[in-house]
Amino acid sequence: MTSQSVRIGSLVLKNPVLTASGCFGYGLEFDDFFDVSTLGGICTKGLSLKPRDGNAPHRICETPAGMLNAIGLANVGVEAFCRDKLPILRERGVTVVANIFASSVDDFVALAERLDGESGVHAIELNISCPNVTHGGIEFGRDAKMAAQVTAAVRAATKMPVWVKMSPEAGDLVGVARACEDAGADAITAINTIRGMVIDVANMRPKLANATGGLSGPALRPIAVRMVWELAGAIKIPIVGIGGITDTRDALEFLLAGASAVQVGTASFRDPCSAQTIMHGIREFCEERGCDVTELIGKARR
């Protein structure tokens, strides 16, 4: 028997496979498919203080080995999440990472305070990297000073582990991540989507109503692996790797580059059981080699 559990700061996960924010709903849409509590954890759709309708359609379009999305952080709001979703997740024993989004430091703090008392939430992930909203989001993630300010403020507002999700559009990614580490982050999630665009040639208009959208899926993967690799050489806190993971081999790349855990995003769309399959695949890989999963972390660096 090999051990699959990994430690992300003070939080111990059953195994290193989580699902990515925005790609797994609130974890309650999978009853027909598999038992979500077996996963290392799930990240909720980005939660804001008030419910949000999101952007006008079209919101998504496919690209070579990827897709663009401009959902605009449609979500039920933190109150409805705590009232309607969280109790069920808690009862089922799901490890929940609450992904939060706000357009000001004060609102980030208010969200963190609201979630702080909630049993069933195991960590908070700060989305300072959403490319699809006009205020907040990516502005915080591009600038080391602003990223540190949000992180420190949230850190002071909650006892829960705080993960900060990086934007690949940060000019100085390592600088932003270090600033977050110094400000008290427990982990760095890398990466969010990178902005792209598709124009419908027949209509001579952008395909998305928002014109641009975040690129996810396999097309993003080599960029994400490179960023995890760079971060792993620069920071001490754990990294949660994400970007285009569709199978076990992809997930192993991130672990070997230095991530302590991974998140599966777009892959869940075409196969709701992707994360579960990858979780089993990593265990089998470890069993074949007779190693614990922690031995794989950063192995390609040594």
Binding site: G22, N55, P57, H58, I60, G66, M67, F269
Partner: protein
């Protein structure tokens, strides 16, 4: 909502293979799959389909309404882009993944009304499934079927077995020359109810006629979909009550009143819709 009272079949990712593909002309194909022991879909539900051989591109599965259910479910596919073109080339035996049955089914027909089905092009698929499910109840719905030309009316012969069919074409090459709505207008009264699937513009026009005549109207929504089961939030459709609903879970089958057709026009009017050649 009426749909929520219906017990929907369990969803699953079915690994199966293509039993046969029949080319029925002008880039339309009927694909039949092997699904032994499945409870199968209800009329109006859809599947997200991809071939296991597609790899990373096309990346996403394609939403397709069921044309029939049971142990050998079938789909009617119109070739319009990369994914549908591959479906139109698929050979018997090719491995496929079908995620389904997904979404809402058509509301159960009212035994005290005549059913009028209004189809545009490939929108015939979920309506024909509904019509066939009525066989044995003594009901024979009226199908108003519109296409650009006589080559854009797939399965119209098949439909004659379960429906009274009236056809319209834009160019007059078959049936009435003009639009389905012109035929519909004459048939609306308080003894009928309408089910429609086709291009958004057509469904909006059908819905408006029904509103004016106080006739119940059900539509099958179409939107780009990444997941088909409610987690990506990509398939937003403007809702009459404000905000958005999600075509894959609140729909595709829903009462026309629930849709904000004006905002839908503003956003969906432009790209080529189902049944319109691209």
């Amino acid at each position: 909502m009426t749909q929520s009272q219906v017990q929907l079949p369990k969803r699953q990712l079915l690994q199966t293979h293509l039993l046969r593909r029949e080319s029925i002309g002008n880039s339309y194909h009927v694909l039949t799959f092997d699904a032994p022991g499945e409870t199968g879909p209800l009329p109006g539900q859809f599947t997200m389909i991809r071939s296991s051989e597609w790899g990373q591109a096309p990346l996403l599965s394609r939403p397709m309404s069921y044309l029939s259910g049971g142990p050998t479910p079938s789909l009617l596919v119109k070739v319009c882009g990369e994914g549908s073109a591959r479906l139109g080339r698929a050979e018997a035996g090719e491995p496929f993944l079908l995620l389904g049955p997904l979404g809402t089914a058509w509301r159960a027909p009212d035994p005290n009304r005549r059913q009028i089905l209004v189809a545009g092009g490939v929108g015939i698929a979920p309506l024909l499934f509904l019509a066939k499910s009525l066989a044995g109840t003594g009901k024979r719905p009226l199908l108003l079927y519109g296409g650009r030309t006589n080559r854009d009316l797939p399965l119209s012969d098949d439909a004659a077995e379960s429906c009274q069919v009236e056809v319209t074409t834009d160019d007059g090459s078959l049936g009435h020359r003009g639009r389905v709505t012109e035929l519909l207008e004459r048939t609306l009264n308080d003894q009928v109810e309408v089910y429609t699937c086709g291009p958004d513009r057509m469904m909006a026009a059908v819905a408006n006629l029904c509103f004016a005549a106080h006739v119940p109207c059900e539509v099958s929504l179409e939107a780009p979909m990444a997941c088909g089961y409610g987690v990506c939030l990509g398939c937003a459709v403007p809702a009459a009550l404000g905000g958005y609903m999600y075509a894959c879970v609140t729909g595709p089958c829903i009462e026309a009143k629930a849709v904000d057709w004006e905002r839908t026009h503003a956003t969906f009017g432009k790209p080529a819709a189902k049944g319109e050649p691209t």
